[in-house]
């Protein structure tokens, strides 16, 4: 069966969205004090690095960057079987920090719930905010992003694919129809 693919965002579009999110983060948090970025593996961590770079360009401050792997916190080990596990790497204390959690695509919200559980096991952040590149709807949990690159209404059968280049920079977001 042939798959139809529609490009939703190209490199320029993604860059524009990330720059806007970086400004929104700074505005909402009134600067970079206590601000940290944590990307969800894999995809979110690359986007978090991009956001950190933009924030550094705007404010001239390198904010701490971490990555979280949520495999151990998933609620579907029984139905999906064991998945390969990535590394959680948060090289700074989370206590009292304003954490911006970064992911590429927001769908059911279960990954975000797992990521929040993971962060809370590591420390006690003051706030957890959520930034996503694409919000495709179909939430199964009461989770709402604070920063959104683009809203893309989808059907459950469709897939959103975010491609990265070898330097882990986002290249393209496409909608794949079955």
């Amino acid at each position: 069966m042939a798959k139809a693919e529609t490009i939703i965002l190209d490199r320029t579009g993604i860059n524009r969205a990330l720059t806007r999110i970086a400004h929104e983060i700074l505005e909402r948090n009134k600067g970079v004090e206590e601000l940290v970025l944590v990307g969800i593996r894999t995809g979110g961590d690359h986007l978090a690095a991009q956001l950190a770079q933009r924030i550094a360009e705007i404010e001239g401050v390198q904010i701490p960057l971490g990555a979280v792997d949520v495999t151990m916190y998933r609620d579907d080990l029984g139905s999906r079987g064991s998945l390969p596990m990535g590394k959680t790497d948060i090289p700074f204390p989370l206590d009292g920090r304003q954490v911006v959690l970064v992911d590429d695509v927001l769908y059911t919200g279960r990954t975000i719930r797992a990521a929040m559980d993971a962060l809370i096991d590591i420390g006690r952040p003051r706030t957890i905010q959520l930034a996503v590149l694409i919000d495709r709807g179909h939430r199964e949990l009461p989770i709402r992003p604070d920063y959104i690159g683009r809203n893309v209404p989808t059907s459950r059968e469709e897939k959103i694919q975010v491609d990265f280049d070898e330097q882990q920079a986002p290249v393209e977001v496409s909608l794949v129809k079955p």
Binding site: S82, P84, M85, D89, D121
Partner: protein, 310 residues
């Protein structure tokens, strides 16, 4: 790639990809062991029974901690305090445990093949924590995790395993796994302690410890199991220490950055001199630390793999 094994009975059944997946997963679990709150909810609601028919502190505690850090309920049964002393057979013990619906049984037994026997009769996953002189897969895997951590690779390493090869499940599990990963394995020990035909499994066999140690990257010293063979295979312990013990002199034959491993518990002054056991090249406590991470990986992978097979 997903893990397709319901049981871990030995390293003989594990492919190179399986071993890499286990080591990578263990690497990720190491991070949890350095946290302030060393617990993740991954195996919440699962029941693990540690069924130990032989004395063990290190392995049993390591499996118990591994299970608890993954939020599973772990129960320890040791044979000396169970119905085994009342004469219950393994078959009956198995049936009774089955009725309590555990998810994973971790088993140590003095008879080779006992975990295989259990695995055939029970619905749950079985992990071999050492069966007789057969296999001790989790030990070999934690040895490899330690080697990979220090040396950055396993392929191409020269690994010398010294001691009572015939009675050693650690040697056998390491031999299968290391050769599969592309390392060279040299075995050395007195002729009475080398099983005939072991070279067919891909090992170089020496009776002179110096030949095995020369240029080695890793030296694994095995414990002389005084409780197993008594005095039949050795003239005296002093003679053994003199010819097959690792000391600062013969250690010089190995590469300068060679590491010394021991599965524990050590007989100081027999297979390993205290100078070496406490020296800068030993990674014995790293092995123990890595043991928890490897056992967490095994529990995690069989817990998912069990479902994947259905």
């Amino acid at each position: 790639m997903s893990f397709r094994h319901k049981h871990i009975l030995g390293t003989e059944q594990l492919s190179r990809e399986d071993i890499e997946l286990i080591l990578d997963t263990a690497d990720s679990f190491k991070e949890i062991n350095s946290r302030e709150i060393k617990k993740v909810p991954t195996l919440r609601g699962k029941t693990i029974i540690n069924l130990f028919y032989e004395a063990s502190t290190r392995t049993r505690t390591s499996f118990e901690i591994a299970g608890k850090r993954l939020s599973a309920d772990t129960i320890n049964i040791s044979a000396s305090a169970s119905s085994v002393v009342k004469g219950e057979t393994l078959e009956d013990t198995a049936k009774n445990l089955q009725a309590m619906a555990p998810d994973i049984i971790v088993m140590r037994h003095s008879a080779s093949g006992a975990p295989h026997y259990l695995a055939k009769r029970l619905d749950c996953s079985v992990i071999n924590a050492g069966d007789g002189a057969h296999e001790h897969p989790s030990q070999a895997l934690l040895d490899m995790l330690t080697m990979r951590q220090v040396k950055g690779r396993i392929e191409g390493l020269k690994v010398a395993i010294i001691g009572d090869i015939a009675h050693s499940r650690v040697a056998r599990s390491n031999l299968y796994a290391l050769t599969r990963m592309g390392a060279t394995v040299r075995l050395a020990g007195p002729g009475t302690m080398i099983p005939p035909g072991i070279e067919r499994l891909g090992a170089e066999v020496h009776t002179d410890i110096n030949e095995a140690i020369r240029d080695a990257d890793v030296i694994i010293m095995l414990r002389i199991q005084l409780e197993r063979q008594g005095k039949t295979l050795l003239p005296t312990l002093r003679e053994y220490a003199r010819f097959y013990g690792l000391n600062p002199q013969n250690l010089k034959l190995a590469k300068d950055d060679a590491i010394v491993m021991h599965p524990g518990p050590m007989n100081r002054g027999v297979e390993i001199s205290s100078f070496v056991a406490d020296g800068p090249q030993n990674v014995i406590l790293d092995q123990v630390e890595n043991g928890v991470a490897v056992r967490m990986a095994l529990l995690y992978l069989v817990a998912g793999g069990e479902q994947a097979e259905k």
